[in-house]
Amino acid sequence: MSLSVQGYLLLSAVISAIGLLGLLVRRNPLIMLMSVELMWGGGALAFIAFARHVGNMDGHAFAFFAMIVAAAEVAIGLALVVALFRGREAVDIDDIQLLKG
């Protein structure tokens, strides 16, 4: 037997929330990017759970695209991290603060 769709959804919500929390408390850009991955992973899980629930594979397609897009986003994000933090003592997002007001 399997868990009801609500159970899966709760799991996905918890994982997304943890990702969000990571973005709220961590200042290391690498870990922030990973937290974004967590949020997206939670979203993908919700799609897959619903796909099974409603019985069509649109949700699988969605989860797949989310995966692709997340990978692309991480690639660009990491490129920016390298450009910003190469040669810095600490890797801390609070240190880049030229733009404000």
Binding site: P29, V54, N56, D58, G59, A66, V81, G101
Partner: protein, 521 residues
Amino acid sequence: MPEVDVSFQVIARALTLVVAAVLVLIVDLILPSRLVRRPVAWISALGIGLAGWYTYSLWVQVTPAGAGPVWNVTAADVSTAWTAFLGAISADGLGLAFGGIILAAALAGVAMSVRRREDDVSGYYSLLLLAAAGMMLLAAGTSLLTIFVSLELLSLALYVLVGFRRRDPRGKEGAFKYLILGSVASGILLYGFALLYGSVGSVWLSDFQAYWYAHGAHGMTPLYRAGLALTVVGFAFKMAVVPFHAWAPDAYQGAPASISGFMAVGTKAASLAALIRLLSVALPAAELGAVVWPLTVLAALSMFVGSILATVQSNMKRLMAYSSIAHAGYLLMALPGLSQQGIAAAAFYSLAYLFMTVGAFAIIVWLGDAPESGSEMARYESLFYRRPYLAGALTLFLLALAGTPATAGFVGKVLLVRNAMEFGGWLLVAALAVTTGISAYAYLRVVLVMIRRPAAAQVVEGAAWHEAAAAEDPDQGEEEARELGTPWPLAVVVIVAAAATIYLGLFPQGAIAALSSLLPV
């Protein structure tokens, strides 16, 4: 297995942009790098022009003169004749009208970029074209998948473009912040889409209508509500609506001004079109209030935060960013009632915003675009005496943004106010009134800077700054700009934008009539 209906006609306007983007990359491989600059700019411009032609030819077919849009005749026409790929994308007035605005912004973006001296021009233009393609698809997408993927296409391209400025840490900083916050918003949007998909059981927008036919008021389940809320937040983020706006000032300030201008107009237009499309199919009129009320509050907040913060800025791009936040609030005034008239108002205001904003950014480029706060204003000091026409044009754009009569901005505001009043949006009208005054002050500060004659000390300081800037970064600075001469495309952008701002202010009826029935029925 369903037969895929490939329709070149429907996707041509986006396809052309993609082809142009790929061509740009190929040309870069073939030609030696010192010869690349001109051909890629021309390819980009021609690609956008061709896309414009396809948009126009579709527009003529979709909205035959006098007969009104096709779907007013038979609703079936919309779903069969003018969609493609099993309904993943459509060609309706909404997507075409906003698509036209996006293309114009992209063309202006190309024209504003011809003076850029960085390497990687091909990367720059191809990303600009791909971002424009993403915006076009977002405005026309009729499945949640198309909407999501094209939103990401434009976002990713813009993240890179914002960080394009070489050796300027501000660009990278703005880009990274934009990327992180954008990913958060996309994650929220993704979750919202998941909940909508789970409620409806499909990603096709046409099935959403079927869902409401089947369920009536019972369709408004908690799951559906939550999905709707998260989705709205996702689009509000892209439009830079308060409190999802914090990325905009950093991204606009860090980005090259040509990109800031392009994304201010394009992203807003595309997201607004998608939001309108979604709300018009995903909610029956009776339930609209549930979404519109929180959006109304956010719109009012945007107007206040945008205009108040614009008053304390000392960097033009940042000021324009806060202005764009306020304008996001104005555009949302079209949503109460979600009527043809309201959408026409939003489309007209987007068109007006296109010319006012692109014109202002073109002048920022003209004067040598700079990311610093504070010293950047020295460029505008006593501009009226050095370059009266340029100063006059900038004054016109700023006055139009403030909503001065006889400019496009005023007509747009009248249309929006009328819509809001008709549907009880008194909060919005009041907020618009107060913030118009505040923002007038913010814009006029710039005008005053341009009128003021500099004291001797300031001249020296400004000159020293120019020298320092020229020494530090030869790509930038007004000295350099003068040395390079003014490229004619930039002048064309300013002249066309100024002419259109006045023309739409004096003779808006043609545009209003053309935009009067965009709402997909």
